[in-house]
């Protein structure tokens, strides 16, 4: 089996596995006042400090959540509610056209159900939101902006956004900028304080930590209206008994990922360059998508003209190569990716793409296995596409 879908989820790092399993056998609610509770609380707070140190923020700015989607929802809904309650004129939500659905969908929901005005900002052909696009959108009416959300790096094509420049624009107008950094932490230098962001989402399982745990980093003074009400954990922003083992695993993973980041990224980049060169040599009409330079080291995304992405995926799966078309709905129906459409691809091109993503367990053998399997698979998928197209002749009705 050749696993080339690390952007979906990546195996846990040994450090994270050790830290998490050590806690799984212990009892203690971090909110309890007795010794067991204090022990658990110590683990949670040390984890918070570890996460803060790795991300360049203060421990008090880290809110643990149940993952990236929950962090994004808390940022979008919580900050919209809080900001618009302070000033009813703040109705606009500005997001890039290539956001993950964990940002797109809460923003759309706020527009549909809560009176927000959603503005989806166009990106260039590499998937980058240009700072001047953001500036023009804010400038149209700065006082009406509730928040801006732009991902750090794209999960499908890997393009990295110019966060520092975007952040400078947002700060100039004093509007909060949230960034979904789920794909960035662990492979790119992410320094929250230096970024000038107001909020940042991350998740454990994309960087070698456990599933089901993440964090929203919130700059001091930025208080969202909670989604979850209850015991008042996490400074009343995120109620619910803290998951000590998962948090310990998350902290260990972030610490290890950030410590090894340069070497890890160099390794991924080396593998990716071999993969990209090999794919383009084997399938000369393949199109390599995303920003050529400013991109995640582990993601390679291609369009294969004349092929259906899900045909390619199925044929590769049958040969033990696991990858992704980059977009699937809950029932598993592949829709043309909104990211590629926003980058100017047509529907056929958007449907013809595959994402290969590398991670800490990837090797040159994985790339070699892909390059061996890919040419016959592309050839067959192209033929299947031609047969389907040929069949679409008009049907003659008699009588």
């Amino acid at each position: 089996m050749t696993y080339l879908d690390h952007a979906a989820t990546t195996p846990m790092l040994p450090e994270a596995l050790a830290a998490m399993t050590a806690e799984l056998g212990r009892v203690g609610n971090p909110s309890s006042l007795h010794g067991s509770g204090r022990q658990a609380r110590r683990v949670v707070e040390e984890s918070r400090e570890t996460v803060a140190a790795a991300l360049g923020c203060r421990p008090g700015e880290v809110v643990f959540t149940g993952g990236g989607t929950e962090a994004d929802n808390l940022a979008l809904k919580g900050l919209y509610w809080a900001r618009s309650r302070e000033d009813a004129a703040r109705r606009r939500i500005l997001i890039s056209a290539v956001e993950h659905h964990a940002v797109l969908d809460p923003a759309a929901w706020l527009a549909q159900e809560q009176g927000a005005v959603l503005e989806v900002l166009p990106v260039d052909s590499h998937g980058r939101l240009r700072p001047e696009t953001l500036r023009a959108a804010i400038e149209a009416d700065p006082a009406s902006v509730a928040l801006v959300s732009v991902m750090w790096a794209n999960n499908e094509v890997g393009t990295v956004q110019p966060i520092a420049e975007l952040s400078a624009v947002a700060r100039e107008f004093d509007v909060p900028l949230h960034s979904d950094a789920v794909q960035a932490v662990g492979t790119l230098p992410v320094d929250f304080a230096a970024s000038g962001l107001s909020a940042l989402s991350l998740t454990g399982h994309k960087l070698g930590g456990p599933l089901g745990v993440g964090a929203l980093v919130l700059v001091r003074g930025m208080v969202p209206t909670p989604l979850l009400h209850g015991g008042g954990q996490e400074r009343d922003v995120h109620s619910g008994t803290l998951d000590t083992p998962a948090i310990a695993g998350l902290a260990a993973a972030i610490e290890a990922a950030v410590r090894n980041r340069d070497a890890h990224s160099a390794m991924l980049l080396d593998l990716r360059e071999g993969l990209v060169a090999g794919v383009l040599a084997a399938v000369p009409d393949a199109q390599y998508n995303g920003d050529p330079v400013d991109r995640l080291p582990g993601i390679a995304h291609f369009s294969f003209p004349g092929c259906e992405g899900d045909s390619l995926l199925m044929l590769l799966d049958a040969r033990g190569i696991e990858c992704s078309t980059g977009s699937a709905c809950s029932a598993g129906v592949a829709r043309p990716s909104h990211v590629l459409l926003a980058m100017g691809h047509d529907e056929a091109s958007a449907r013809s793409s595959l994402r290969f993503s590398l991670g800490h367990t990837s090797t040159g053998a994985d790339v070699a296995a892909l390059l061996e399997a890919l040419p016959p698979v592309v050839e067959r998928a192209q033929r299947a596409g031609e047969i389907a197209a040929a069949r679409h002749k008009p049907r003659i009705r008699l009588g």
Binding site: A108, L118, L315, A331, V333, A388, R391, L398, G399
Partner: protein, 357 residues
């Protein structure tokens, strides 16, 4: 063989796939997403996801069988080739069979073509019908379970399509299939059968047509032309229909009246007594042969609806159509329905009924 199992999420296709696996085939499960649900504002989420519950059930079965499973989005093709055709046929005063149309243009055409293109040898479905390899090629036969037999809706498949089909349930009765699903631990074992047209889940065909075609008020008349009542669209009536005629006054002889004719041209529905529905002659076009064409004049059995009884007939077939003389009358035959020809249990072929005498 490399087999693509079409898995609807129901019990029949689940057991069919299980039997294909057990027979030693290399099986991949595919759920066909056919229904279009109204879109989502930012993301067209609903579109293409058939019923997500059915897709999930099919996926659960595939996981238990240990086979790969994918969802293929055929919603746009299904709409164009089946749903729009269904509406257009009713609008033209005919009564189409959408299941037959789906088999003809989706399951054993678009899906089969794609499967063959991707390197599969056959498509496996949960239809109740038997494939028999005879002296002159593969033959399509009725299933052993007369209540479930679906050979009628497969009467549009040609020799090539039959050569790449697999119907593992043809020798079983439904109760055996359910028992087998339960014994295999498939969660769909007790799932109710679907009877309705899949894209009209509430069964209200008239309401569905009204929403697509709008109201077209017209007259309900008897065979003498006397106006008996009104209707809101002739397309909503089918020859042989008795209910929903909304005729105030009873017939002079007090006997029930039936739709005898639907004329879209003058938007008129003609009603009359049951015996006026008797038909002895049929014309059909668009002939399809489940094997080599049987041209010329011959005797066979003819069935005009999915759950109708076959009647003996004398058929004259040419390339472009059929003339059928029934040896006993059949009631309520509507243009648009398929006349399927049988020799014993074997399906010879079919044609679309254009006129009745």
């Amino acid at each position: 063989m490399r087999v693509l199992a079409a898995m609807s999420g129901g019990v029949d296709s689940a057991v069919a796939a299980a039997r294909a696996v057990e027979a030693g085939h290399d099986v991949v499960g595919v759920h066909l997403a056919l229904a279009e649900v109204s879109g989502h504002s930012v993301r067209d989420r609903g579109k293409g996801c058939c019923t997500p519950d059915d897709a999930r059930d099919a996926g659960r079965v595939a996981d238990v069988l240990g086979i790969p499973f994918y969802v293929w989005d055929l919603a746009a093709q299904f709409r164009a080739e089946v749903v729009d055709d269904f509406v257009a046929e009713y609008a033209a005063g005919r009564t189409p069979n959408p299941c037959l149309r789906c088999n003809e243009s989706i399951k054993f055409a678009a899906v089969l073509d794609r499967a063959l293109g991707l390197g599969f040898d056959a498509v496996c479905t949960g239809h109740y019908a038997r494939l028999v390899d005879g002296p002159s090629g593969r033959e399509l036969h009725r299933a052993v379970d007369p209540d479930k037999d679906q050979s009628y809706v497969l009467g549009v498949l040609d020799a090539d399509q039959l050569a790449h089909s697999l119907f593992p349930l043809g020798d079983s009765v439904k109760s055996e299939v359910r028992a087998e699903a339960a014994a295999r631990g498939l969660i769909v074992a007790a799932k109710p059968d679907s009877h309705d047209i899949c894209f009209i889940p509430d069964g209200d065909t008239a309401g569905f047509l009204r929403s697509r075609l709008g109201e077209r008020p017209g007259e309900v008349v008897d065979t003498s032309g006397a106006v008996l009542g009104s209707h809101s669209g002739a397309y909503g009536f089918t020859v042989g229909q008795r209910k929903g005629l909304r005729i105030g006054t009873p017939a002079p002889d007090g006997r029930p009246r039936y739709v005898l004719d639907v004329s879209v041209v003058d938007n008129r529905v003609t009603v009359g007594p049951a015996e006026a529905l008797d038909v002895l002659g049929l014309s059909g076009d668009h002939p399809r042969w489940c094997g080599a064409p049987t041209l010329g004049s011959f005797e066979c059995l003819v069935q005009v609806r999915a759950h109708g009884d076959p009647v003996p007939a004398d058929v004259t077939a040419i390339d472009s159509g059929l003339q059928i003389a029934l040896r006993e009358p059949v009631r309520g035959v509507a243009p648009g329905q398929a006349a399927v020809l049988y020799a014993g249990t074997r399906v010879l072929g079919s044609a679309t009924i254009t006129a009745t005498v």
